[in-house]
């Protein structure tokens, strides 16, 4: 079935509208260098482009209290040059061939990528290898201080000066036990960013930025024989790093609901309900993902239709299941219309949830969500960079790059009964209820319902 979506006359498939779950296959080759670096190659010659996607299996969950935000600050430092590359030169060399260059840090992993015309591929491989092998000689106090200022400005720009911008860190702190690495935000706190030192940079680099804690995906218009030579030449000599201990999954349970109120410079109050949930790449994660679609994707989704379209007491709703490596979160957020309290909003949310738990969901709702997932997946596989990112992520976080071709299998056979049975478990757990209200308007916050 898989090949059919790739058939040259795909439009003929209109004759067979029943075909579902055909997933475009991403063919790849994988091997490991002696130093432990995993290399994944994927050929796609449809455009003269190549992507280098470097992923290190380290993120904010490897940080210690007192140094929150460090994994991300370190990511910034990685762009400040290395022994053979001057400050600003990394970007200059790549920008002038037209590359799309960036990096990102999550709780679980950090990535660096270059997507560029294929004639620049060797340069990208060289630059990635130089900072993996030779970063420290180039890092000075001045560079660290500069990027510390930049990251503090990132925190101001993306969190502090944005309406509702502090919601997530407030929720995470309440949802997870104090020593849980998901209890602090990836961006970190200003105090901890100020405390980060050059010694921290050295220690972090030595522990986590080793070839055996990374993978590199080279995808696109490439010659695999040539790429293997370049990889061996530039990455081969970098020594393996020592083993280290990773944070383990731990059960997250609240002993009671936590109700929090945060005043913010906003016009409208917003309610956030968050439950501890399943980690990523699990069946439960897939089931809740579908349930979240049924609740809030599209005008006919249950929360949207009831609160935004019919009752018109809310301006927007969102429900999502976010599965990370060692835990997950199920969340609902609703922005109230002017004049509405979050108590009214919470009551209306529970009416929708109770109805779903009591009367179930329909086959059609499940199928709608699955069809959207299929379309989303096909679109995400349309770029070489998208495929490179997916291969690296599957390898790093699910343990096998081959899972890229099993994405839809996780969703196979999900039934309305499975969704409702799981939803009963999910929503029965204690949760964090955060009300963000305009300054001085604490009376708009959600009050605990008398009956629950």
């Amino acid at each position: 079935m898989k090949w059919q979506l790739w058939a040259p006359f795909a439009a003929l498939l209109l004759l067979f509208p029943g075909i579902l779950w055909a997933q475009p296959e991403v063919k790849f080759e994988q091997y490991t260098l002696d130093n432990g670096l995993t290399v994944i190659l994927h050929e796609d010659h449809s455009a003269p482009l190549a992507s280098t996607m470097m992923m290190y299996h380290v993120g904010s969950k490897n940080e210690k209290r007192g140094r929150t935000g460090f994994a991300h600050l370190f990511e910034h430092v990685m762009f400040q040059g290395s022994q053979h590359v001057k400050k600003e030169e990394h970007f200059k060399l790549l920008q002038q061939v037209g590359a799309n260059v960036n990096g990102s840090t999550s709780e679980d992993r950090t990535n660096y990528f270059e997507s560029l015309p294929s004639n620049g591929l060797e340069l990208a491989i060289y630059l990635e290898s130089d900072r993996m092998g030779f970063l420290l000689p180039a890092i000075t106090q001045e560079k660290l201080d500069n990027q510390r200022d930049v990251v503090k400005n990132e925190r101001r720009q993306s969190y502090e000066n944005v309406p509702y911008g502090l919601s997530y860190e407030t929720i995470a702190k309440a949802l997870y036990p104090e020593d849980h690495p998901y209890s602090w935000p990836v961006i970190g706190s200003m105090t901890d960013l100020s405390a980060a030192s050059l010694d921290d940079v050295k220690g972090f680099f030595a522990t986590y930025y080793a070839p055996n804690n990374a993978c590199v995906v080279i995808a696109g218009d490439i010659d695999p024989v040539q790429v293997k030579v370049w990889i061996a030449k530039y990455f081969g000599p970098i020594p393996r790093g020592n083993a280290f201990e990773r944070p383990e999954p731990q059960e997250v349970t609240l002993s009671e609901d936590k109700r929090l109120v945060l005043e913010d410079r906003v016009q409208l109050p917003r309610l956030y309900l968050t439950w501890p949930s399943a980690p990523g790449y699990t069946r439960t994660d897939a089931v809740r993902d579908v349930m979240a679609d049924i609740l809030s994707t599209g005008k006919n989704s249950r929360l949207y239709k009831s609160l935004v379209y019919e009752k018109q007491i809310a301006q927007s709703v969102s429900a999502s299941q976010g599965g990370s490596e060692i835990a997950g979160e199920l969340s609902i957020s609703v922005t109230a219309k002017p004049g509405k309290t979050l108590t009214e909003i919470e009551t209306a949310v529970w009416q929708v949830l109770d109805d779903m738990l009591k009367n179930g969901v329909t086959e059609k709702e499940v199928q709608t969500s699955l069809n959207q997932k299929e379309a989303g997946l096909v679109n995400r596989r349309a770029t070489v960079l998208g495929k490179a990112g997916a291969l690296a992520t599957y390898f790093t976080l699910s343990g096998e790059a081959a899972n890229i071709n099993k994405e839809l299998e996780r969703f196979k056979g999900i039934t309305p009964a499975e969704i409702v049975a799981d939803a009963r478990l999910a929503f029965a757990r204690h949760k964090v209820v955060l009300s963000i209200v305009p300054q001085g308007k604490r009376d708009l916050a959600a009050q605990p319902p008398a009956s629950k």
Partner: protein, 483 residues
Amino acid sequence: MTRLRLIFYLLLAGSVALQSSATAQETLDRTVRPKLGPTPEVRLPKIQKTELPNGLKVWLVEAHKVPIVAFNLVMFAGSECDPLTAPGLASMTATMIQEGTSTRTSLQIADELDAIGAAMNISSQTDFAGASLNCLTKHMDAALAVFGDVLTHPTMPEKEFVRVKNDRLTSLLQQKDRATTIATMAFGKLIYGNSHPYGNDASGTEQSIKDLTRDDLVRFYQTHYRPNNATLVVVGDVTMELMLPRLTKAFSDWKQADGTVIETFATPSVETRKLYLVDKPGAPQSEVRIGYPALARSTPDFFSVNLMNTILGGQFTSRLNSNIRERRGFSYGVRSMFQFNRLPGPFVASGAVQTAKTDSALQEFLREIDLMREKGLTAEELEYAKNRTKGVFVAGFETPAQIAGGLVNLVVYKLPDDYFVNYLKNFDAVTLADVQRVAKQYLDSSKMAIVVVGDVKTIRPGIEHMKFAPVVVTDVAGNPVGN
């Protein structure tokens, strides 16, 4: 712990080890940079053109790599068509036509598209209204049926109009929360004033939205949403042979109407620099906009201005970003751009800067703009900008959405058929003298407006001390308030 060891286990054992070459290690001199290969040939999309019986122009590009198809209908019905007294009309019309047809309710429209994972978006930009549809090729017929219906038989039910209007009024209220939105809106209003459509917020104002009637929208639709005022761009896993009968059917009821004339407005000129402060008490950063009305898309200086701006503020290693972010750490990132619209759009240098460094950051913004005006680029910088432009162009035709975006640009700005063919030649032809000239001509900071949205109490003394310009405090809409 088990889980994590397992990952390491797979990493080491689940693959084939490749010998790294010992000789390569010994001889590798890392100070020698790899050489670039020759820039690959860009594979330009082959555009097929036709016209439906009702006058709707169709442009199609086959892209069979992925089983998706992207439809983009371009209509000359952007917010530039809003009467000066009724901002928001174009944008409300675009929203409302998705709210019901003679045979489908608002919910049915959404349901039919959601059920097949198709995404439809209808919205107005400054220069055009765009209706896009993205779907899997296998669902094309079902998706097109809804798309055609929405565009040709909208009923704009009164009940939905009341809801959408209320929704828009709430959005306008929420705009006051975002410093970036406030800054962009105030900047537009302050440099274009009240007698130019670019001075208005395309989403409208509280008053203009309240005043709009359903009839206003119906009239706007009847005037501007016409096949003879539109081009449909189709890119994806389809052929013209397959598409033509389907499009003819989907748009068969769409009738021509008398052509509309889009008004032209004189670009206001600014004589002296002014600095406007908008208060956002307690803000940890200041949102900065510096600029003035500048150039239309039709300017013959398009290529030289783009190269000049690439170095000034058009990419990460630009002078502005290198200075303000990478050297001084005042910001997470700053940039500059010329917004080439049908009428002259603004030049704007922008960014969010740390509250305590606002005056110093403004000084650096102005220093870089003035330096560019006085000295232009070095030969090395011009070469760099040309190389980057070439690389970005080569990378720009990968997905149906990217290709469609390029074609929409040709349609909206009436660019020639051989535009992409000559694109790189036009950039290559730009000389250092050209760049010098446009920098002098288009970067006159003595006439620019400076808009800063931030904590006025904290930033004002430093700003006044620097004597950039007379300081005017305005409200979020750009209207001066008492000091």
